[in-house]
Structures are given as C-alpha cells and as structure tokens.
C-alpha cells in the first residue's frame, strides 16, 4: 500500500542560515501511530510545520495521499489536522464558534451534530458557550484537538500533546489517540517523553540536529537495542570484582554494595545461571536481586549522544 504521507529529501534552511532539516525522507503508513522523538531544537516542529504548510521548504517534496503539498495544497491540507505545541487560542472567542470556524476554514459546511459529538467526546460540551479564556489549560489542549478534528482529517499531527500537562490529562490524551487510531486516523506525534512513545506508538523515529537518526518499529527497536540489567545487592561489600568473575560483564556500584550484570535478553544464553554458580563458588553472597529492562529513553539518550 502506498504511504499516506511521503517526505522526500526535505530540507529547510531558515533565513538566518540555520539548517533545521537536512535531507529528510520519511514514509508514514495509513493508520499507524508514529512517534517522532528528539531533543529540543532537533527539527521536530519544523518538520511538522513544513508538512502542514506553515513553513516553506527549501527543497524536497511532500506528498499527502498522492497530492503534492505545494502544488495541490488544497487537496493535501484537507486531509491533515494539526494540534500545535503551544496552545494558541483567541481568548475572547466562544468555544463552539471556534470549532465551527476551524471546520469552515477547511471549506466544509457547518455541521452542528459533528461539533456536538466532538465537544462531547472531549468533555467540552458544557463549555460550548464560554469564551476560551474561561477554560483550564487541559481544556484548551482538548479544544485544540477538537478544532483539529473538526474537518475529520485522515492524518492528525500532535506536536508535543502532553508537554507540561498533568498525569490525568496525559492519560486522557493517550485515550484520545487510541480512539482515533481505532477509527483509522493516522497519527504523527512528537514528544520528548519516551514513556509516551512507548505507550502509544507503532513506529518510532528519532530525529536529532535535523536528521532522522533512526526509524523502526517500536517493539523491534526495543528488542534490538534492549539490554537487561541484573542487580545483585551483596551481603558484604566488595572492594573489587573478584578475579574469577572478571570474564562476566560486571560492575560494582554503591561503594561495592551491589553488583550489576548487563546482558542481552534476546540472546540464547543470558549467562545468568553461570554467573550465579560462579558467584557462590567465589563466596559472594547477596540478599536481594532485581532486573531492569532498558527503556526507549536509554536507547534514545544513547543515539542522541552518538549523534
């Protein structure tokens, strides 16, 4: 199946000479949730803004369901909804009106039923006659989602949907994304919360300094790069790793109070049994143990450091 969004050799150099995107290519499949991870200033927002028509590309092409984003901007943009990172709202506008305005901008006739359903889904119906400034931060965020969905887009961009929001709203956001995914909406979100990508995404792209460092299925990524840690809390602190155990990948931590063993959880032999046997042979006792899986966050930090 042809990708619903295809970015080819996209470059953006701002007027001040800053290269925000360096020859970026990316395909997004219909119906997937794609998380774009990267530190601040990596180019996430520039990439989204360029696709949505807010920033003029220096070179390269963008096609949305076969429509060129520049020459056929009307057809392309009709398919796209955008929830920007900051929460730009007109403080005095009325909640219901502003959603109607968004729909109108996309050339669609007013549809009261749709707007009612959206506002109810996003628990804003009670507030429909209030000015936007009367909304809380979380409500404003949901209102922006309602506005972005008012023309029933096939692709939804969420630029840092949960930056600076509380836990409850974050889970709310995850639920909304999940519901949209069930309805077949393609979702592209940026975040620097790894937890969020792990929770929601099917695929993850890591972007750093204007380049896509890596794109992979999330599970695949975690499997490939996933390491596990075994931590042993020793009964007696050690001053050094015993000679007989040096072939194992061991490090002493907490002033010798704990030993950490790093292993590949996908390997056929993790070496745990051997290690434990040799530990008792060497007379090293432990009173507790725990294992840890490296998260996307560790993977991400590794990648960005290398970059």
């Amino acid at each position: 199946m042809a990708p619903i969004l295809s970015v080819r050799d996209l470059e953006k150099t701002y007027d001040d000479g800053f290269k925000a995107l360096k020859s970026m290519s990316l395909d997004i499949e219909e119906g997937e949730v794609f998380a774009l991870l990267g530190p601040n200033g990596a180019g996430k927002t520039t990439l989204i803004s360029t696709i949505c028509g807010l920033v003029r590309p220096t070179s390269g092409s963008i096609t949305v369901a076969g429509h060129d984003a520049i020459t056929e901007f009307r057809a392309a943009r009709r398919l796209i909804g955008l929830v920007p990172q900051e929460m730009p709202t007109a403080p005095f506008e009325i909640v219901g009106d502003t959603v109607a305005l968004s729909r109108g901008l996309f050339g669609l006739a007013p549809d009261g039923e749709l707007i009612e359903r959206l506002l109810k889904d996003l628990t804003l119906w009670e507030k429909r006659n209030n000015p936007i400034m009367a909304l809380s931060g979380g409500m404003k965020r949901r209102l922006l989602v309602a506005k972005a969905l008012s023309h029933e887009p096939k692709i939804l961009f969420l630029d840092e949907p949960t930056a600076g929001v509380d836990v409850e709203l974050r889970h709310d956001m995850w639920r909304i994304v999940d519901e949209l995914k069930q309805r077949g909406v393609t979702i592209i979100l940026t975040t620097h919360y790894i937890e969020e990508a792990e929770e929601m995404a099917d695929r993850v792209g890591v972007i750093n300094k204007g380049e896509l460092v890596l794109v992979d299925q999330k599970d695949e990524l975690m499997r490939k790069l996933g390491r596990k840690l075994l931590k042993l809390h020793l009964t007696e602190p050690l001053s050094a790793v015993p000679e007989s155990l040096s072939k194992h990948n061991l490090t002493l931590e907490n002033e010798g109070a704990s030993l950490t063993y790093v292993y590949d959880s996908q390997a056929e032999r993790t070496g745990i049994t051997t290690l434990l046997t040799e530990l008792s042979a060497a007379g090293v006792g432990f009173h507790d143990l725990q294992t840890d899986q490296s998260s996307l966050e560790d993977i991400f930090v590794d990648l960005v450091k290398k970059g």
Binding site: C52, R56, F73, P84, P88, D97, L105, G107, K147
Partner: protein, 253 residues
C-alpha cells in the same frame, strides 16, 4: 475558491466586532459626532460659510473620511495582528485557503466595519447639520474605495508590525495628522499660496476633496486626480500584499 473559509473568517471577524461593539463602533462614532456638536451646533454659527456651505456641514465629509481611514486601518491591522500575536494564525495558514482568500476575508471584514461606522456617522450628522449629497454614485465610490484601500493598508501594517507600538504608529502618527492637515476642517484654498502647494503632496487632500465634492459639488483639486490618487494607493497596497504572500514575509518562514 474556498468560499466557506472566507465566510468563516468574515463571520468570526464580525463576531469580534459584536463582542467589542463599544470599542469598535460606538466609540469612534461618539468621538466624531462630538465634532459636529462643537463645530456645527456650538461654534459653527460664528464661523463663516465656505463657498455657501455652513461650516458644520462643510466638515462632515472630511470627518467621515477621517474615521473611515483610521477605522479601516486599525480594524484591519488589528484583525491580522492579533492572531499572529496569539499564534492562532497557524490555523488559517495550514488550512486549504489561498492567500487571496485570506486577504479578501480579513480586508472585507475590516472594510465592512468601517463602512458601518461611517454610515452611522453620516446618519447622525444629518441630525445636527444640513447635509446634501449631490453625487451619490461618486459618494459611494469614494466611500467604498477608501474603506477597502485603507483596510488593505492596515492589513499590511498588521503583518509588518511586531509589537503593539508599531501597530498604533501609522494610524495615530501618520494618518490622523495627514487628515487634519489635509483639509478635514478647512478648504486648502484658505491657506497661503505657499502652503497650498505644500499641502498638495499630502495624499489625503485628494481623498477628502473628492469625497467633499460628491456632497457639495466643490473640490480643492480636480475630481479625476482624487480618483487617481485613490486608485494609486489601492494599487500600491495590492502590490505590497502580493509581495508579502509571494515571499511569505512575516507569515511563513
């Protein structure tokens, strides 16, 4: 053309006017009407007629032009500046709307508002001073052309301005003085010869003169020059707007 989008922007801009009716309609009407009361009814009778027109009636076209110009400017500049300031402009720029449609909607709404203000002033004036409109077609032409031209000009200022200071600068420090010195309150033929010539470089003179001619049939400059000046201003503004959209100036980096 995305008519639905133009309608939506227009409707939402007009809704903004309704929400701020005191600031955007009543206040300019009152401040202009005060001039009729003072100059027309109170001290106008002590000022001699100008070419057979009572002083109170003489200043009406100039005052309408003054408020038409300043209102168009401030409505249009604020209308586009505020969404830039709050960031909500992203929605318009990422929608399937062309720049032409954006301009028509914003400028149309701003011109509509100032035309409403101008009409209210005209109607109110007729209660205080004896008015006649000898050339109604010309009157409407100048009325609408000026509103649209200055709304376009304001649209440019609203895109150019990057703070509220700049937004106020042109209407308050350029247009208002030019209007006061451009014959709102006097016929430039009343000036010494030297100043008459100097005044002719003030573009507002042509607008006020043409508009006043459509009321009383008397003008400071040739009618066609008035029309030409308006059209040049309109054409210049259109060219700048075209350039803004071609380059994405201050809207699309």
């Amino acid at each position: 053309m995305n008519f639905e989008a133009m309608k939506s922007i227009y409707v939402s801009e007009m809704a903004r006017t309704r929400r701020t009716v005191f600031q955007s309609v009543i206040s300019p009407v009152i401040s202009t009407v005060l001039y009729f009361v003072v100059f027309g009814a109170a001290i106008g009778s002590r000022i001699s007629e100008i070419n057979g027109v009572s002083y109170g009636a003489f200043i009406v076209p100039g005052l309408i032009m003054l408020s038409l110009m300043t209102q168009s400017l401030s409505n249009a500049s604020f209308g586009i500046y505020f969404p830039r300031f709050t960031g909500t402009i992203f929605e318009v720029l990422s929608a399937p709307v062309s720049f032409l449609e954006i301009t028509i909607a914003y400028v149309g709404a701003a011109a509509t508002k100032s035309i409403i203000v101008g009409l209210i002033i005209l109607i109110t004036a007729s209660f205080f001073v004896p008015l006649e409109i000898q050339h109604p077609v010309w009157m409407v032409t100048f009325f609408v052309l000026t509103a649209v031209t200055f709304a376009l000009f304001g649209f440019i200022i609203g895109i150019w301005a990057d703070n509220f200071e700049k937004l106020q600068f042109v209407p308050l420090l350029i247009v208002t003085p030019l209007a006061f010195l451009g014959g709102t309150f006097y016929s430039i033929t009343m000036l010494p010869e030297f100043w008459q010539k100097v005044t002719l470089i003030n573009p507002v003179v042509y607008l006020i003169s043409g508009f006043r001619w459509s009321f009383y049939g008397q003008a400071d400059v040739n009618l066609w020059y008035s029309l030409l000046a308006t059209l040049i201003f309109l054409g210049g503004s259109l060219a700048i707007v075209h350039w803004i959209f071609r380059t994405g100036y201050r809207l699309k980096p």
